[in-house]
């Protein structure tokens, strides 16, 4: 846990040569908005998202020398999401590392609902509120897919999981969101 908490700012001085800086401006910097948007949906707080993104960019600057890939967007987004999840884990469990368990994050309703009950799902509750009820891992999948328009392969790269996991996570995220929206509609009647 201690290394989790050590801030990047305490590491060696980040340094970019002029050439690296140009490459950084071209490959990574254009995704600052995407980075903030993801952090904002994961952390659900503007100030914390700003802090996480700045920390992630510092990390990116420090490790940019080792970046050889072509996909700067997936690269920076993976750093951003890891930074955010480190924060979320601290919040969730006082710092202990907890592996995300998709089954444990099922809505109760999901387990018992016949598929037909999903029928009236899209309703009055805003999708924003519905999204807020989902586990961060599901929000992440939906934001990367629907707002960033990433392919499953790119999402897998960002999350650091196999494509099959992306597939099942998105399927579950959509199912849960439909349920959350449906449940919200019932409550508000």
């Amino acid at each position: 846990m201690t290394h989790e908490e050590s801030r990047e700012t305490t590491g060696p001085e980040p340094h970019l040569s002029p050439r690296e800086r140009e490459r950084f401006d071209e490959c990574v910097l254009p995704y600052l908005d995407a980075a903030y948007n993801l952090a904002r949906y994961l952390l659900r707080d503007g100030d914390q998202a700003e802090e996480a993104v700045q920390e992630a960019f510092l990390r990116a600057i420090r490790h940019f020398g080792g970046f050889r890939g072509a996909d700067g967007r997936a690269w920076i987004l993976s750093i951003v999401r890891n930074t955010c999840f480190t924060q979320l884990r601290r919040r969730r469990s006082g710092g202990a590392m907890v592996e995300f368990d998709e089954e444990a994050h099922s809505l109760e309703a999901e387990l018992s609902a016949p598929e037909a009950d999903l029928a009236r799902a899209i309703a009055s509750e805003s999708v924003h509120e519905g999204l807020g009820r989902l586990a961060a891992e599901f929000r992440e999948a939906l934001v990367l897919r629907e707002l960033e328009g990433l392919s499953y392969k790119e999402i897998a790269h960002v999350m650091g999981v196999p494509i099959g996991t992306v597939m099942s996570r998105l399927a579950r995220a959509r199912k849960q969101l439909l349920l959350a929206l449906g449940a919200g509609a019932k409550e508000s009647v």
């Binding site: 002029p18 600052l32 948007n37 700003e50 999708v127 924003h128 998105l170 959509r174």
Partner: protein, 257 residues
């Protein structure tokens, strides 16, 4: 094939991420299963709602400033000043090529040897950032080119061409006055998805027609062109390809201004 088996695959089917065999199986099943068809429709509707209703949170300017400060600090130990980048020109070459394909009335200039007017680009980027920061994107908010264009008359000593490109998914959202190069200029504001595009326009009679390669500044892409005696500076955080496509529209609007 069992419904439950298909049901779990609808999400990936919707995203066009199934392999051809699996995709074929799902298609075939959907033809005979109203439940799965309805479920697919709901998921599709959900996606549309998300894309329409969820706010895309752009990085606040303060955050952008902090990141830029960290970047500057990371480069500081190196005494050599950053020179115009061969790298940075690369996509601009691509942009110029895209515009060349579009042809139209803009002549594609050969890439100049020296850096384009970096000072103007810097001013244009500052104008773009200001417009987002001060909550002062438009003085006249209208998607109607016939409202925006007359608004400028009486406020400027020239009449900027104003064309709405909504049909190409670059809708006009308004205009405002800005100040660049020591003179008042027209700023036309367009959107593409969630991205704001500022187009600064002012007369430039002596410049030869053409499009100059532009550059990336502070994370924004800038494309500059001259057409019919007007200088155009296009600034956005939109990706280079889509901004180049937009510049192509500006270069050759279907209806003549």
């Amino acid at each position: 094939m069992a419904s439950a088996h298909v049901f779990d695959r609808l999400s990936a089917f919707l995203d066009d991420e199934l392999d051809p065999v699996a995709s074929g199986e799902v298609s075939q099943h959907l033809e005979s299963c109203p439940d799965c068809s309805a479920a697919l429709a709901r998921q599709r509707e959900l996606g549309e709602n998300l894309r329409r209703d969820l706010e895309y949170h752009r990085a606040p300017d303060l955050l952008r400033a902090r990141v830029m400060r960290d970047l500057r600090a990371a480069g500081r130990r190196d005494a050599v000043r950053s020179r115009p980048a061969a790298q940075a020109w690369r996509w601009l070459g691509a942009a110029a090529a895209v515009i060349a394909v579009g042809g139209g009335t803009w002549i594609v200039a050969t890439l100049p040897r020296e850096r384009p007017d970096a000072a103007t680009a810097r001013e244009a980027v500052s104008g773009h950032i200001r417009s987002l920061m001060a909550n002062h994107l438009t003085d006249v908010a209208s998607t109607d080119q016939h409202t925006v264009k007359p608004w400028f008359s009486g406020r400027l000593d020239f009449s900027p061409p104003v064309t709405d490109f909504a049909a190409a998914n670059y809708p006009l959202v308004g205009g405002r006055l800005d100040y660049l190069q020591g003179r008042p200029v027209a700023a036309l504001v367009y959107m593409h998805r969630m991205h704001v595009i500022n187009v600064f326009v002012w007369p430039m009679s002596d410049a030869h027609e053409g499009i100059a390669p532009a550059l990336t500044q502070r994370g924004f892409h800038v494309i500059h062109g001259t057409r019919a005696g007007m200088a155009y500076w296009v600034v956005s955080d939109l990706n280079a390809e889509e901004l180049a496509a937009f510049a192509q529209l500006l270069a050759a609007p279907s209806g003549k201004p």
